[in-house]
Amino acid sequence: MVLLTRKIEFSASHRYNNPALSPEENQRIFGKCNNPHGHGHNYTLEVTVAGEPDPVTGMVVDLADLKKLLEQEVMKRMDHRHLNFEVPELAGQIPTCENVARVIWNLLEPKIPQGRLHRVRLYESPDLFADCFRNGAGRNGSAS
């Protein structure tokens, strides 16, 4: 089992606001992330694919295919977009790192061309990130 990780960066805006809560509660819970005009981040996404290297090509997954998939599913959908208004998969969810990572997982997992999706790590800033993976996927890539 070998893990391969591809990193991409995208920029997007978002706002944390739950319409079921009062403005005061939103402000208390989300602080400056509740600013009515939103704000943005440079996100870094690390996508890790697990598999055995193909005996002919030596690859776990063809990086060109993976790059294309990330362009199609993530960049086109999220880069220079407002996550609250322009990403239907996030409709009704607060676009936190946790939720965006899970949406990206769900977009990518069925379409990984070779191997299997092992981990999605989404950095909202260098000091804050969320990991999404299958429960029970081993630390080194093996099912456990």
């Binding site: 607060i94 804050l128 990991d131 080194n140």
Partner: protein, 155 residues
């Protein structure tokens, strides 16, 4: 908010947050002679100590609250870490000012374990692991003694 479209179930989400503090330490074990200490710890045994800019990475897990989209409110995590880790360690001598290191050598292995011990009291999420970078070239990780097996997800 209702009908959040969770895939739920067997997907696991962890949140990682990085913090920084600067502290001094000296590696010296009372159980060894001065010569042995010097041989084993080298310049880290320098009698007057030395310091590092430490980076601490805390990973937590739990259910993502549909109302907030969060495993735990970041402000709560930040204030807990500030109180339990940053204030007691930042710009301190680990040997002289942190009780745990009166008896233990303040290697970054032991520092990891001490930070893990303190973070286990965080009431709002499950602590997954603690990773400490002593320098940009040396990092250490502790996930509790049971988690040395590979059952806790992706590295």
């Amino acid at each position: 908010m209702t009908a959040l479209g969770y895939a739920g179930g067997d997907l696991k989400i962890e949140l990682g947050r990085r913090y920084r503090f600067a502290a001094s330490h000296r590696l010296h074990s009372a159980q060894m002679s001065d010569a042995e200490n010097a041989r084993i710890y080298g310049k880290c045994n320098n009698a007057c100590g030395h310091g590092h800019n430490y980076t601490v990475e805390i990973s937590i897990s739990g259910d993502v609250d549909p109302a907030t989209g969060m495993i735990a409110n970041l402000a709560d995590l930040d204030s807990f870490v500030q109180r339990e880790i940053i204030e007691p360690f930042d710009h301190r001598s680990l040997n002289e000012e942190v009780d745990a290191f009166r008896a233990e050598v303040p290697t970054t292995e032991n520092l990891c374990i001490e930070i893990y011990r303190r973070m286990q009291a965080f009431p709002l999420a499950k602590l997954e692991r603690v990773r400490v970078e002593e320098t940009s070239n040396n990092s250490f990780e502790y996930a509790g003694d049971e988690a040395v097996s590979d059952s806790d997800g992706a590295l």
